[in-house]
Amino acid sequence: MRADRTKMPVQDPEIRNCNFDEVALGYTPELAMLEASRCLECKNPRCVSACPVNIDIPGFIKHIKDANIEEAYHTIYQSNILPAICGRVCPQETQCEGSCILGIKSKSVAIGALERYVGDYALKQNLSIQEEISEKEEKVAIIGSGPAGIACSASLRRLGYQVDVFEALHEFGGVLKYGIPDFRLPKEIVDKEIQNAKDLGVQFHKNMIVGKSITIDQLLHEYHYKSIFIGSGAGLPKSLGIPGENMTGIYFANEFLTRVNLMKANRFPAAPTPVRIGNNVAIVGGGNVAMDAARTAKRLGAKNVFVLYRRDMTALPARQEEVEHAIEEQIDFRLLRNPVEFIGENYVVKQVKCEVMILGDPDESGRRSPVGTNTFETFDIDSCIISIGQSPNPILKSATPELEVDRRGRIIVSNHQTSIPGVFAGGDVVSGAATVILAMGAGKEAAISMDQFIRERA
């Protein structure tokens, strides 16, 4: 048995930080086989219970060992319809891989990389799962086409419902499209995985903002949807709330990433939407969004990209792989720095002033909380990208007063059902900004509750 984890080939950092092609290139069949052979096929696999959707991990890996990739795909598909996406973006180190037995003595099996391998194989071979769907007459509506909405729509469709997905933007996929960059998740992959849901018979409708173009009340009472799932995500950027934040040159990550990912500003002028960041770019935050913003800025040609984060390296909430890749791409981490003010001239930002922080006692998240030292440091910048989190977009709530939300705007649910009977919700709009797989899991579970609700009403 080999102890070494099989490395996935990647593009050279010096080359990739100038292009938007995918960084991690995926396993070859040989490498996948090699890595699969490391799996011990535990009797009580801890990885499965650590997976938010409980994929039969040893099961699919066994099929890889047997060189039956199609069967491996079928195994994953039972629990997860988006393997090529999840294999790329899940925080495996805190989920499946984090509880792999091998990880105790050496390195865990690269489950994410194997999942991706199987997902990519299925997309390449156009593997489709032939399913008998016994049609039902009832219509259900899904709001939002992010991972929560996609998962929910597919589950309901497989139960036979007539499923319509309403999406506010002109493309489907939610954050997978407008947030996560191409070099980490190519948009063709997202489109192909969504095609699977379309092939099942799910109808997708773009440019439909529920609460504006159509209301929840209209969906229920005018269009006779039996049940509704809200998967509208967490799209509202959080602000730092410090002076100067509205000067030009200061972006919220959502704007910056949307310009590049959804509107293709990296191809300006071939694509008509521009983006401008200059040479010295500060990124505020330490999560996946911050890493994506930093690496995107680098690829747009910024000379110095630095991350301002108020804790230390060990506390960065981003996926480990993203942090490693960012370091390789010469993103500079200026840690224990907390922005307190933007300084500019004539409304154009020139500098960001930061307070130097130290780490104090642990807070409720268990991480040591940053404490100000009353010493300050100022950095020259051409632009700044604020990436400190998102909360749910308020459009639906303001159009639907009877929809109960908590203090932070998150929809309150019980057994996935909201305060409006028949209206369910899941994903970031319920949990606050979280992960793709948790959103998918919530969508899937909500589908079961919706089915139950409809059958009880029938």
Partner: protein
């Protein structure tokens, strides 16, 4: 795809279109806007919904830069790739007796549905409408249907007073009193109107047109500072009471991409002509 069912040229810079978009039309209210993408690769451009019926909406746009010129190349019978709306909050219709509308250039388009709504509610409505030349005064016949008086201002004096709408307003304030003014036009015009109105104790509402992308409150591109607080024009507006708006900041924000906008215009449209 969204069909253009009718198109009119209003003057050399401004055009009118009727677009079939039932879900935008259905819930549209005065003050709402929509976002258009002309083609598959298009920018998302926000435009006010001027009027609407069951199935369709009308827009009036000024051919300003690349995307509006691209839009202008489309004819009746052609299709637009994306149309989404109705966006923004409907205009807040205040409980007043007399209103003065002040329109600068293509601002006459977004002002129209609001002013009409006031008139419909029995409010006395006067209007000052300004433009570069006589040809640039928009919707005059339509406004005539419900305005008590209409006053004109043109840069070249070809109609009404030669000069700015603010000059006409100042003269009016000597004789008339208004409970409210609604000013829509270029930012500099709105800024100067508010300054004037403060002097004469007239309340002012404006409709803001910052750069937008999604129009759903997701990106924050459209933010404006009002009384020291940040608002997103696409979801909190686009109409706001004008007194606390930081117009200077907004003007800088609106010009952020000037270089790129000029570049793409020269590059792509220059080559086409």
């Amino acid at each position: 795809m969204y069909e253009i069912t009718e198109k009119k040229i209003l003057n050399q810079d401004v055009e009118w279109m009727r677009i079939k978009a039932p879900f935008v039309a259905k819930n549209a209210k005065p003050g709402n806007f929509l976002i258009v993408r002309v083609d598959e690769f298009g920018e998302r451009i926000p435009l006010t919904i001027v009027t609407h019926d069951e199935m369709s909406v009308t827009i009036i746009y000024q051919k300003l830069g690349y995307s509006t010129q691209l839009l202008s190349e489309k004819q009746a019978g052609d299709f637009l790739f994306d149309v989404v709306g109705p966006l923004g909050l409907p205009s807040h219709i205040r409980d007043v007796k007399t209103v003065l509308g002040i329109a600068g250039g293509v601002g006459a388009a977004p002002l129209f549905p609001q002013l009409k709504e006031y008139a419909r509610r029995g409010v006395i409505v006067d209007l000052i409408i300004g433009g570069r030349t006589k040809d640039h005064l928009l919707l005059v016949d339509e406004y005539q249907e419900f305005c008590r008086n209409i006053y004109f201002a043109t840069d070249d004096g070809s109609c009404g007073q030669k000069g700015f709408v603010t000059q006409v307003a100042e003269q009016l304030y000597q004789e008339h009193t208004y409970d409210l003014a609604i000013a829509i036009g270029p930012l500099i015009m709105m800024k100067n109107t508010v300054l004037l109105n403060k002097k004469y104790n007239v309340l002012t509402d404006v409709s803001l047109n910052p750069i937008m992308i999604d129009g759903t409150g997701m990106c924050g591109n459209c933010r404006v500072t009002i009384n020291g607080k940040t608002k997103f024009a696409c979801v909190d507006g686009p109409d706001f009471p004008a007194e606390g708006i930081d117009f200077d900041e907004l003007m800088v924000r609106q010009n952020y991409y000037k270089e790129e906008e000029n570049h793409i215009c020269r590059l792509k449209l220059g080559a086409r002509k």
